[in-house]
Every structure is written in C-alpha cells, then in structure tokens.
Amino acid sequence: MGAFVGMVIVFVIFAMFGFSRNFLSIAGFANWMNFASTVGIIAIPVAFLMIAGELDISTGAVLPASAMMLGISVNHYDLPMWLGIIMTFSMAASVGLVNGLLVTRTQVPSFIVTLATLFAVGGLTLALSDFLINNTNVSLQSPDWAKALFGTRYFGFRSAVYWWIGLIVVFWFFLHKSPWGNWVFAVGGDPESARNAGIPVNKLKIWLFILCSVCTALAGMCQVIQFNSAQSATFFNMIFFTIIASVVGGVLLNGGFGSVAGVVFGTMTLGIVQQGINYTDIDRNLSLLIIGVMLLIAVLMNGTFQKLATSWSSSKKED
C-alpha cells in the first residue's frame, strides 16, 4: 500500500521532469522496466527469505556464475542449450541448498553464510572461467527457441519482463493464497512457535534458499541469452538492489511481514530512479542520493505502517 503510493509519487515527479525527454514514451517505460525485471525476478524470493527472517546476498555471485556457466557449457563445450540450462539451474539449486543447510544446521546468521558463499561462488566463477576458457568473458550464440524464450524483445520489452510478470502471479499465489505462504509468515514471526505448530521450519527455509538461487539463475540466463555475452565479475549491486526493492516495498527487515505487490512496486520505483532517470532532466548522479533517501523514508514508514496495521480493526470500529 505504502509502496504503491511511493511509486506513484516517484513516477509523477519523474514524469514532470522527463516530459520533454521521452520518459513517458514506450521506449522510456520499457527501458526502466527491462532493468527492473532482472532485479524483480530475484527480489521476490529474496523478500520471501526476509519475511521468513533470513537474508540471501549470494545472489550477486550466482547471477554471473549462471550466465558464465551457460555461456561456457554451450559455447565452449558445444553442449546443447537445454542441457546447459538444466546444468545451470542445478548449479544454482546446489548453491541454494548449501546456503540453506548451513543456515539451518549452524547458528551462523544467514547474512554471514551468504556473504561467504557470495565470495566463494564469485571467486570460483572467476577462477574456473580463467582456467577453462582462458577468459573472464564469454560470448554465446543461442538457438532461436532459446532466444525467443529468454532473450528477445516483444513490443520493446525484454523476455525477462514477461518472465517477471509470470513469476509475480505465481509468487503472489504462493505467498498470499496458498497455505505455504502462511508458513513463511509464521516462520518469520516466531520460529519457535512455528516449529511447535508443526511447520517444518528448516525444510521451508532450505527450499526458499533454493528458490532464491534458481530465480537468480533464471535472471542470469536471460541476460546472457539477451546480450550474447557474459562477464564473470561479481555483481555486488544486485545485492543492494534486491534488498532495497524489498524494503522500499514494505518488507520488514526482521521478518514476519511483507507482500509480493509491495516488492513489485518497490522494484519498479527502483527501476524508475536508477534507470528511468536517463529519460528526465534530473541529473543522473542524483539517483543514488534519491535511492538512499527513499530507503530511509521507507524504513521509517514501515514502522508506522506496522503500528497502523496492528490497530487497524479497533480504529475501524469507532467509525
């Protein structure tokens, strides 16, 4: 709710400054939506983990690792595309599994665990790329079906935008309609009570970590197929983008609260400020400042909204 209002405000302000520079054109819209889709595909499962009281920052390394793995296996080893995709998903799933197992089996906070896997996966990607193909970049020529599915444009929007929209529907159903969504909230609200209520807390967390890595792999593969090339450098910004999108979208940092719609609006706001700014008269250098201020406002507002939410019904009765 708050995230939607925030996005509208940002959109209106940017539209005012960008009127003369095509911010409102399809090209302008598609530009920041394309950026937002990559973040958005990853941000929703990251938000799920945050709602469940955990954090995954290894996405910054899984993204290039997936892109490189697909590129190397298909381009360098001439494996069929479908096999490369399956292998990449499996690799990402195993990173998620390792994250999940480490977090649930040890008492180490997920921030540290995924920080470790972030660097480990990032380093491994660089080293293996160098070792296998003597290069930290790889180019990729994809077959037509893969291009059509993951890496082309429809009406100016990248395939990833459509994947994002599809995933929004699936994830919305998962979190807000299916009984599993209830588990996610319960686990983040009070893990001990959730365990007592018979919710398989650890299993759920492990699956969420796997989901997060697999979605990151999808985003990475969309990128490499779209641009026909991949770089192995760790994409640290992705960590911040996904967390910012979640928090601006109203997800509580300490878990137990959040919504898919909020994260989507948070991601779109981020897309407007980070990318749409090119289509306005606002100085590009200001985008980081705007994001910082926005994040601060969002965090402060989240507390207020939470208070409003808990007293919502009693105030309604007095009307």
Binding site: P179, N182, T310
Partner: protein, 260 residues
C-alpha cells in the same frame, strides 16, 4: 471412571544433564477437569520439568504415564499428538499475522484442488473467532485483525483456545500471567477455569501464589529439583505456600533480611 483416572502421571522421574541432576524423584499426577499448580522459585527446575512433560527431554529415570499407560515421547511433536499442549508466554501466536492465519498456522484449512489449493480465509477466521469467543473473549470479532493488536491476555487466550481446538487434553501453561497486569491476569485465570470446566487437565506453572490459589485444585511446590510439598486446595494457607516457595525460609525472615 474417567474423572478418577490420571490423564498424565509422572512416577519417580529423574532428569540429569551429564553430571548435573536437575530433577529428583518427581511424582505428579493430574486428572481431567483438574488444575495442578506447579509452584517454584526461579531455578527450581520448573522449565526442565515442563520440557520433560512436553517431550523435549526424555527422563533419565522413571516413567511417564498417560491414561495409566506408560509412554515415551521421542519429541515435542509426538507429545503434542498425544494431546499434551504447551503454551508459553505469548507463545503460539504471531504478532504480524491475522487472528485467523495465526490460529491455523501449520494446519491451514484449504479449498480448491491440486496445486491450486488456497488458504480458506473465511473458514479460518470464522473458526478462530468462534473458538476464542467461546472462551469468553468477546472483544474479538474480526478474524482479519492482527494478533499484535491484541492485549497480552487476549493473545494468551488465543493460544489456549488454539491448543484446545486442536485436541489438547493436557494443557501446560508456562507462567501465563507473569507479564500481565491485574485485569489481564484475571482474564487468563478465567480461561484456565473454562478449560478446566471443559474437562481438560491443566498444569499451571507460576510463581504468583495468588494466581495459583485462585484456580488450583492441587498444588506442588518444587524446590531445587524435588517436590517439597504436594497438597490439595485448602490444606495450607497462603503464607505457608509462599514460605515454601521461598525455599523453606519464612517470608518474614526474608523480609527482615531485605530491610537489613
């Protein structure tokens, strides 16, 4: 017949962690429709005893019987399925979830089929509100309200109503009134009486003698891991119980030492 049989009974239960003995020869029993008050100062072994009854710890020696038959719980889940529900302070409820969702956490009612099973919000809300209202909390009428907006007493009542709805026969209440004000505590004590009226065996853990006296039928005082006294309602005065809890020293001596 059923009201003379012990629902839960402990016979000579010992519990030690390595070389440290926490519980010695605990024998307790509670019948249906009876409130057993477990009194004890901090560190007396109350929580270990609760955990032993709730299946978290297995007793080192001795046996636990349910309905007269020896049982051994391999974990809290098994104890729960046998009908032992443990309600901790504020436990079992989630502040940022709605009453309906919180009530059914882990056992969500669904409608629809296959992968499209959806959480049945109306049904969950209706049952949750009805069950809590049956326990006398009439202020709750909207199942979409967030649990965090309820008072401490209401949350405790919600947790108890939840345990009862899901088939608890033995209700272990771990200091349900410890953090509550006078009115809120009265609230919870009423719920304890209601649970008792419905034929549940209640084990009520507290260190507030007043609260224990208000609802208890049977009292056991735990001191340094053993039962120091076991008596029925009316056998002892309030002062005697308070003295017992203070570890055998009289309250008067304690007061004197405080004043120096």
């Amino acid at each position: 017949m059923s009201d003379t049989q012990n629902v839960l009974e402990l016979r000579n239960v010992d519990k030690s962690f390595g070389p440290i003995d926490v519980l010695h020869k605990i024998s307790l029993s509670v019948k249906a429709g009876e409130v057993l008050c477990l009194l004890g100062d901090n560190g007396a072994g109350k929580s270990t005893l609760i955990k032993t009854m709730a299946g978290v710890h297995a007793p080192t020696r001795g046996e636990i019987l349910m309905d007269g038959k020896p049982v051994s719980f391999s974990g809290p889940k098994v104890a729960q399925e046998a009908g032992i529900a443990c309600v901790h302070q504020f436990g079992g409820t989630f502040p940022l979830m709605s009453i309906g969702r919180s009530f059914f956490a882990g056992v969500e009612p669904t409608k629809g089929w296959g992968p499209f099973k959806v959480f049945d919000r109306e049904k969950a809300n209706e049952i949750a509100v009805r069950e809590v209202r049956n326990f006398g909390i009439t202020r709750i009428e909207d199942g979409d309200r967030l649990v965090g907006g309820l008072s401490g007493g209401e949350r405790q009542s919600l947790a108890i109503a939840r345990a009862v709805y899901f088939g608890a026969r033995v209700l272990i209440l771990d200091e349900p009134t410890a953090a509550l004000g006078v009115k809120q505590s009265a609230h919870v004590l009423r719920i304890v009486n209601e649970a008792k009226r419905r034929g549940l065996a209640v084990i009520f853990i507290t260190h507030q003698v007043m609260h224990a006296m208000a609802v208890g039928d049977h009292f056991a005082v735990l001191i340094r891991g053993s039962i120091a006294a076991d008596f029925r309602k009316g056998d002892r005065t309030r002062e005697e119980i308070a003295d017992l809890m203070a570890g055998g020293e009289s309250m008067i001596d304690l007061e004197a030492s405080i004043e120096g």
